[in-house]
């Protein structure tokens, strides 16, 4: 049994196939995966991509998030052209990246830049689960580390929305090292008194959960978001026990003291704006 444990994959959770179907499909009508009610896509979009009936939070892409959150026209993107090479020469890796670039219209799993929220300037990084399941390769790590550095340089806060299945297998140990790179960058930002807000969305697991996602001065999460270190199946196999339904949800983490607040999307902008304002008034940032 214990021997078994070592032969199974574990440590880094990946996103299950289910999530892929959860995003609002293209087309006129949308069926809520949670309450099964059918809506016009436009209705859902007007409602911050949440279900008007049951408040289910649909997947939100990075461009959509930035659009909803930042003041109109305030966003300036950083490093938008940065793309991955194939450092371990994994077969088909570059083709997979290309496919996701076409599908999503972005070059990698995170969009970074600066803008304002109700007039308050901030740096922002938003991961996108549509791109290679939001996995963290060298480009994701590099862009986030640069965003931290840039926020430090500009003396503005950083808000980071996470959405990631963890490590990017095709970049192996280089992917792992992005956890360190981003954390070392955060330490410098922290030491300089920088304000860092981590906002976890579905899913935030593995290496992203075990690095910057957990290091906010304020740690928030969207309702029902899956957040955890190891994958549910791996844990069940290891401890030979069925886990409760709410295991590794935002609410579960909140109950165990690991989040400051669970923040529904409708309160996202006000919550962030209030924090930016309090820190603005308080000086320092």
């Amino acid at each position: 049994m214990i021997k078994d444990m070592f032969n199974k994959k574990r440590k880094y959770a990946t996103i299950s196939k289910q999530e892929e179907h959860e995003d609002v499909p293209e087309g006129l009508m949308v069926k809520c995966p949670s309450c099964r009610k059918i809506y016009y896509r436009k209705e859902i979009e007007k409602n911050l991509l949440t279900c008007p009936n049951c408040d289910h939070h649909h997947q939100m892409s990075a461009p959509e998030r930035i659009n909803y959150l930042l003041d109109d026209g305030s966003f300036q993107e950083w490093d938008e052209d940065m793309v991955s090479e194939n450092p371990l020469e994994f077969p088909d890796y570059l083709q997979k990246l290309e496919k996701d670039q076409k599908k999503t219209g972005i070059n990698e799993g995170v969009v970074t830049g600066q803008g304002t929220i109700n007039g308050f300037p901030t740096a922002i990084a938003v991961m996108d689960a549509r791109f290679r399941m939001g996995s963290m390769g060298s480009v994701v790590g590099e862009k986030i580390a640069r965003a931290i550095e840039k926020a430090n340089e500009l003396n503005i806060p950083l808000i980071l929305f996470t959405a990631s299945g963890g490590a990017r297998m095709q970049e192996g140990v280089l992917s792992l090292m992005q956890m360190t790179k981003t954390s070392v960058a955060l330490e410098r930002f922290d030491r300089a008194g920088g304000l860092f807000i981590s906002y976890m969305t579905n899913p935030t697991t593995g290496g992203v959960s075990a690095s910057f996602a957990s290091l906010g001065d304020y740690n928030f999460a969207e309702p029902q978001a899956l957040i955890g270190f190891a994958g549910r199946r791996i844990i069940e196999q290891t401890i030979r026990e069925k886990l409760p339904d709410d295991f590794q949800t935002a609410e579960f983490l909140f109950k165990h003291g690991q989040l400051d607040r669970v923040v529904p999307r409708h309160e996202m902008k006000d919550t962030l704006s209030t924090i930016l304002e309090i820190h603005h008034v308080g000086g320092g940032q």
């Binding site: 075990a210 996602a213 270190f229």
Partner: protein, 321 residues
């Protein structure tokens, strides 16, 4: 030798044969000295051939060898006056990580390391060297103490990974590791990290952020075990061998990727063959690093640490024109 790895079988067989001939010679009046000499010559060549051409998969097996020295073995051979300290002050004492104070020559140091068990009973106590959050929090507590008293820190990395369990998640495995990554980055004392066995993903990272990162020749460092990678990439954990090759997880791979500072040469046939000598190799490496790092002003130490991590992976990005 109790544990023989598949790839080293020919060596072990030949060695046994020589032993047999020797005992026969001593017990009878037939003189086989010449034959023995021939075979011993052949053994030497065979050992060089077998151990000089290890595949990544051979190294994975060596890193997991049942007799492979553990953190406490090295501590006892490299340092003096080691005194173990326990507990994270919040929840408990995780024996999958050991830590304490000791002397390296005349230099006081703090030592932290993953600790595997030597047998089943020991392994249950040590949870197979797979830490819970309290292990990482104990490590951080001891590292902050080292910083307060200006003691350099040496860490030994040897884990399959942080424990994937329910309680570990409830108590914040992610936060515990994440916090160590950030806090270690800012420690104002030299930090030297040495991978002695398996360096399994985030669980290994949690005590391996520092100024120097070394790997014993036959140790591994990876984002996921070869078995896990195979299951994930090709839905077949039997392809672990193939995964070990393509994931680039050996000391030489990591040196080539510029992730580690250097490979620490291993005794031919593996560290377990001569603990004393292997410890000397490691001592040398700690000694040289301390000499270099202690000469740096704090600010420069931290700046260099950042430069070191900043570079990793950056080379693999290009900007489209």
């Amino acid at each position: 030798m109790k544990h023989v790895l598949p790839f080293e079988k020919p060596v072990v067989e030949l060695r046994q044969k020589i032993a047999e001939l020797k005992s026969f010679t001593s017990e009878s009046d037939v003189d086989l000295t010449e034959e023995i000499a021939t075979l011993e010559n052949r053994l030497e060549r065979l050992e060089q051939e077998v151990y000089g051409n290890m595949t990544p998969w051979d190294r994975v097996q060596m890193a997991r060898h049942a007799e492979r020295p553990t953190t406490l073995d090295y501590i006892n051979h490299i340092f003096t006056d080691f005194m173990e300290m326990h507990g994270d002050r919040y929840y408990g004492d995780d024996e999958a990580i050991v830590g304490g104070i000791a002397k390296f020559g005349n230099q006081p140091v703090t030592i932290i390391g993953h600790q595997r068990g030597k047998d089943t009973k020991d392994n249950l106590r040590r949870n197979f060297g797979m830490p819970h959050p309290e292990g990482y929090r104990k490590a951080l507590r001891l590292m902050k103490q080292a910083e307060k008293f200006n003691r350099p820190i040496v860490t030994f990395i040897d884990t399959k990974g942080a424990y994937p369990g329910k309680a570990a998640e409830e108590r914040g495995q992610s936060e515990a590791i994440a916090k160590n990554l950030r806090e270690m980055a800012g420690l104002t004392v030299p930090v030297i990290c040495i991978v002695i066995g398996e360096g399994g993903s985030g669980g290994a990272l949690g005590i391996s952020v520092g100024d120097k990162l070394y790997m014993l020749e036959n140790s591994t460092y990876s984002v996921i075990s070869p078995e896990g990678a195979a299951a994930l990439l090709w839905k077949d954990s039997n392809l672990a061998q193939k995964a070990a090759e393509s994931m680039k997880i050996t000391s030489y791979d990591l040196k080539q990727l510029n992730i580690i500072d250097d490979v620490v040469e291993e005794i031919q046939g593996g560290a377990h063959r001569d603990l004393e000598n292997q410890s000397n190799h490691i001592s040398k490496c700690i000694e040289d690093s301390l000499k270099e790092l202690k000469a740096l002003p704090t600010e420069e130490l931290l700046e260099k640490r950042w430069e070191k991590y900043k570079k990793i992976g950056a080379v693999t990005t290009v900007v489209q024109s």
